[in-house]
Structure formats: C-alpha cells, structure tokens
C-alpha cells in the first residue's frame, strides 16, 4: 500500500526524495520504494524519517 502521508509530509517540508534520502542516510531509491509501499523500512529508519520530516510514527506509518 502506498504511503501517501509520507509523501505529503515530505512535500510539506519542501524536500525532494534525494534530499530526504541524504538526511536519513539512505539511497533515493529506498525512499521512493517506501513511498510506493514496496519496501518495509526498519523501525530505526522509520524513526529517522519521522525526525527528518518532524512527524510522529503514528502520523506516517500507522495504518487506520
């Protein structure tokens, strides 16, 4: 399932996939695949993404 909330949060912060990837120390492809729902990130990567986007785990990764 696509992670639209993460993509929106990234756009809100005015960050490209490349810039977010640099902030959390992964490749741009990894960010792209997480947003497409094709890769399940580890908890530590989720936390790093949340910190970079100033969001909580609930905001970005909790499925209702």
């Amino acid at each position: 399932m696509k992670n639209i909330r993460m993509k929106l949060a990234r756009v809100e912060k005015d960050l490209s996939q490349e810039q977010l990837a640099q902030l959390v120390g992964v490749s741009r492809q990894t960010i792209g695949l997480i947003e497409l729902g094709k890769y399940n990130p580890s908890l530590s990567l989720c936390v790093a993404i949340c910190k970079a986007l100033s969001k909580t785990l609930n905001d970005l990764f909790w499925e209702e």
Binding site: Q22, G25, V26, S27, R28, Q29, T30, G32, L33, L36, K38
Partner: protein, 170 residues
C-alpha cells in the same frame, strides 16, 4: 534465485532478529571463505612453488565476486550502494575503481619488468633496457585490461542497476 536461499521456515512468520543475525553470519562466512582462498594461494606458492595450480581458488574468488556483482545489479541495489558511498566518501567509487585498475596494471607491469631484467639480462644497461621495454609493453597491455575489468564493469553494473531501479519505481 530461490534455490540459493531455501528457508525451512518459509510460509511461517520468520523472526526478523534471527534472520538479520543469520545474514550477518553469512556475510562473515563469505569473508572467511575469501580469506581462506587467498591464504591457500599464498601458502601454495610459498610451500610448493609458483607452478602449483590454483585454479580452484581463483574460481572461488572470481565466481563469488561476479555473482555478487550480477545479483546486486539485477536487484538494483548496486547503484544505491554507489549513491550512498559517493555521498559520504571523499573519493567517488568510479575514482577508486580507476585507481585500483591502474595500480593493478602498474604493479603487474613493474613485476614483469623486474622479472625480465633479473632472469634474462646479463646486467648493467641490458637489465635496464629489458626492464624498461617489458614494463612499458606490459603497461600498455595490463593497465587498459584492468581498467576495463574494474572501471568498465563498475560502469556497466551501475547502468544496469539504475535501469532496474527506474523500472521498479514506475
């Protein structure tokens, strides 16, 4: 390549901590096999002389490296690893490959030059002439060859990996 990664717990919920640690052990085992193969070549040369066949060790070293290169390119992680490496490292992966290829070619050329000078020349100017001649010709042959093997393979794998990534994101 499912026949390479057979898992007795397939279908059941695997414990990711166990899987991660198993992968760590596999990585260590791979390094160990590489070191043992290298040590075997060195020991054979020292104990049995340079005419000892070491084809098995060479096959182990080259086949596993080539397998990793092909698999990482076909899964699209090769270019990702290069991207992360280039972001954090002082020298780009391409630069490192050019340096490694040139150094290997140069090293081999100097070795052949010294070998010719010591084995076939009568000393003095002839030794110097043999060294320069053989080293120069070897340089012309081996530097491009090793550059092709390191830099050329790196570029090809990176391009293939980026193509896979592009398709995956579409």
């Amino acid at each position: 390549m499912k026949w390479f990664t057979w898992d007795p717990n397939q279908g059941k919920h695997a414990d990711e901590r166990v899987v991660n640690l198993q992968n760590k052990i596999y990585r260590e085992a791979y390094t160990l096999i590489m070191l043992i193969s290298l040590a075997s070549i060195i020991v054979k040369f020292v104990m049995l002389g340079k005419d000892t066949p070491v084809i098995t060790e060479i096959v182990i070293l080259l086949a596993s490296s080539l397998y990793y290169l092909i698999r990482s390119a076909s899964l699209g992680i090769y270019s990702d690893a290069v991207e992360v490496h280039d972001r954090t490292s002082k020298f780009k992966m391409s630069t490192k490959n050019i340096i490694a290829g040139s150094a290997l070619g140069l090293g081999l050329a100097l070795y052949f030059g010294f070998r010719s000078a010591t084995l076939y020349a009568d000393g003095g100017l002839q030794s110097l002439w043999y060294f320069v001649l053989v080293a120069f010709v070897s340089l012309m042959i081996y530097v491009p060859l090793f550059l092709l093997l390191t830099f050329g393979l790196h570029k090809a794998a990176n391009k293939a990996s980026m193509h896979v990534n592009k398709e995956e994101l579409e």
